[in-house]
């Protein structure tokens, strides 16, 4: 007994929006204010790490196709890895700033996994459209965490990084299997859900 796909998408969308809002708040108020309470520094990396751990059940319970299993597995791993790297840096266990490259790497791998595992064309249905859009948003959005490695104090970069998460979350909220996109639904997609 599996719940509809949207439910899972919404759960992870919630996580992405929370990560994005934390990052946005940090970008707006600055590090000094944000870190007045030390636990806040751990907030978004912990969320990313936890989402990675929670993606594993999705991977193992979803075995309807090899490619989807692999895609979910890759998201689980890169979310855990990038969250862990950020936590290590915040905690002072890791020192090299190049550990921050884990985040753009995670964006690139996640984006590629979205694009590769989506079999349908852009305008097949809303889910297909958003999968393409999310994939390319992740790949193009990787520029923000990449620039953040070299320009960690740039407000534009930090805001872009935060907003990428928010946008990804919103797109994932809208993701729905066989719903029309711009009023169009491929006749091949089957009947709409509900």
């Amino acid at each position: 007994m599996q719940p509809p796909a949207e439910f899972v998408h919404w759960m992870f969308a919630t996580g992405l929006v929370l990560v994005g809002l934390c990052l946005l708040a940090q970008a707006v108020v600055g590090d000094e204010v944000w870190r007045r309470r030390p636990w806040r520094a751990y907030l978004w990396p912990s969320l990313a790490f936890t989402m990675g751990v929670l993606m594993w059940p999705v991977m193992v319970f979803f075995t309807n196709s090899t490619i989807h299993m692999l895609a979910h597995g890759s998201w689980a791993q890169v979310m855990m890895f990038s969250g862990a790297a950020e936590l290590g840096l915040v905690r002072g266990k890791l020192h090299s700033r190049y550990w921050r490259l884990a985040m753009p790497f995670a964006f690139l791998v996640s984006g590629a996994a979205f694009l590769i595992h989506e079999q349908n064309s852009w305008f097949f249905a809303r889910a297909a459209f958003l999968h393409h859009l999310i994939g390319w948003t992740l790949i193009i959005g990787a520029i923000f965490p990449l620039l953040a490695v070299f320009r960690p104090r740039s407000e534009a970069v930090r805001a872009g990084f935060a907003l990428t998460f928010v946008v990804l979350g919103v797109m994932l909220y809208c993701d729905r299997d066989t719903a029309p996109v711009f009023g169009h639904l491929s006749p091949l997609a089957g009947a709409q859900h509900r």
Partner: protein
């Protein structure tokens, strides 16, 4: 309020399930691995979207590979496809299917059913060729990874209980972390290799192959449970490193050992004739003892010896004591399982399984001799306060290498089929009650 918000956020993330986005097989008749008492007239597959089916989209095979199905047809709503089958005799049957999703992508799969006979597992469907050399190597890597994480954690908690020098601590976490991630990665590779063998599809089609029949087997369930278990172990290991709280290594160790039982609950000891809860327990003890022994040796040779010289003597003596217990468990469980799986002594040299077991026994004897030299020569000398032997690190590395070689042979053994047990005489089965 803050706590309530935190709890709500956690709950929103804490119940993930699964998602699908393309034509998915919803139902089959007969069902996956179902035993039916009467021959079905048709085999039916129902999908969540419309699909196109060629006349040979569904093929039903007997266990000997004879095709017993006719031409495939679609139902009026195009969401189901059916194929008529002949009157089926008692036995196991394999259904291989391949349909084109309405969006032109092919989805494929395999499942089995039995007529007045248990359905064969999907991994033994007609056309599956059995374990390959690649699968042996993958299984071996799995054992090595399991030894690195479970044995490493055991060594850290039972042998070197106090703090380690920072460099040694870092290397311990690296080795155990590589083991934890290795178990997950190699486990995925092993599952996919097994699935590829069962599905018998070209790579492009395999990517869109339906793995759900395999996920419902013991093997698949073990894969799912162990992946989740070792994801948790990885998280605990990371948190222990991050927060410097060694207490978190205990749950990681116990979860690792507990979920290692997935192998015992899905292997020969669980499914072959003569298996029972005792054989499953023996298999798990055998595996756990081997993992603790090999993983502990690796930690001793690569962490304590080069990076914590002040702990060498104490760690060696403690590990030597633990190794004695581990070897006793290893041998007792191993002998019990050998007797169970080899009904005749002659199977040792006449059956393939027995021959691999002989190679394993030879390597185990070598490891035992090596361990005995450490136990009876080096240990008493160290207890007397004699200086450490210069060649001891090389000797420890050698013993670890033999242990890892044993794991390779064990991997081949696990993938091999034990010889069949002699049939119980019919007379005994039908003997009248006194």
């Amino acid at each position: 309020m803050k706590r309530a918000l935190a709890a709500a956020a956690f709950l929103a993330l804490a119940a993930p399930a699964s998602a699908w986005a393309h034509a998915t097989l919803l139902q089959t008749k007969p069902a996956f691995a179902q035993r039916v008492e009467r021959s079905p007239r048709v085999v039916l597959l129902r999908f969540d979207q419309s699909v196109e089916a060629l006349p040979n989209a569904i093929t039903v095979y007997t266990s000997k590979g004879h095709v017993v199905s006719g031409l495939t047809r679609s139902t009026a709503d195009k969401r189901a496809v059916t194929v008529p089958v002949q009157q089926l005799a008692r036995g196991g049957y394999t259904v291989r299917w391949r349909v084109t999703s309405a969006d032109s992508h092919t989805v494929s799969g395999v499942f089995t059913f039995g007529v007045r006979h248990p359905a064969p597992p999907a991994t033994e469907a007609f056309g599956a060729s059995g374990p390959t050399t690649t699968e042996h190597i993958v299984r071996w890597l799995y054992f090595v990874a399991l030894a690195l994480v479970a044995g490493g954690l055991g060594f850290r908690l039972l042998i070197v209980r106090g703090p380690l020098p920072p460099q040694a601590e870092r290397r311990f976490y690296w080795i155990a972390g590589v083991g934890a991630v290795g178990v997950i990665e190699v486990g995925i590779a092993a599952f996919l290799l097994r699935a590829e063998d069962a599905l018998q599809l070209p790579f492009g089609y395999f990517l869109y192959g339906d793995l759900s029949p395999l996920a419902k087997l013991r093997f698949g369930l073990a894969f799912m449970a162990m992946t989740l278990g070792f994801a948790l172990v990885s998280a605990l290991l990371f948190l222990a490193w991050l927060t410097d709280r060694r207490v978190l290594l205990w749950p990681a160790f116990l979860v690792a050992l507990g979920f290692a039982s997935g192998l015992s609950l899905s292997g020969h000891s669980a499914v072959d004739s003569g298996s029972s809860w005792l054989s499953e327990l023996a298999d798990w003890l055998h595996l756990s003892a081997a993992a603790l022994w090999v993983g502990g040796l690796v930690q001793l040779a690569f962490v304590v010896w080069p990076l914590a010289p002040e702990l060498r003597r104490q760690a060696f003596l403690r590990f030597s004591r633990l190794a004695t217990v581990l070897i006793a468990v290893l041998l007792s469980a191993g002998i019990y399982l050998s007797v169970l799986r080899l009904p005749r002594l002659s199977d040792l040299w006449s059956a393939g399984y027995g021959q691999v077991l002989l190679v394993k026994l030879a390597l185990v004897s070598l490891a035992l001799l090596w361990g005995a030299a450490h136990h009876f020569i080096v240990r008493p000398a160290l207890e007397r306060g004699a200086p450490l032997f210069a060649g001891l690190p090389r000797s420890l590395i050698g013993e670890s290498a033999v242990g890892i070689a044993i794991l390779l042979v064990a991997a081949i053994l696990v993938e091999s089929k034990p010889p069949a047990r002699p049939a119980t005489p019919q007379v005994a089965l039908h003997a009248p009650a006194p």
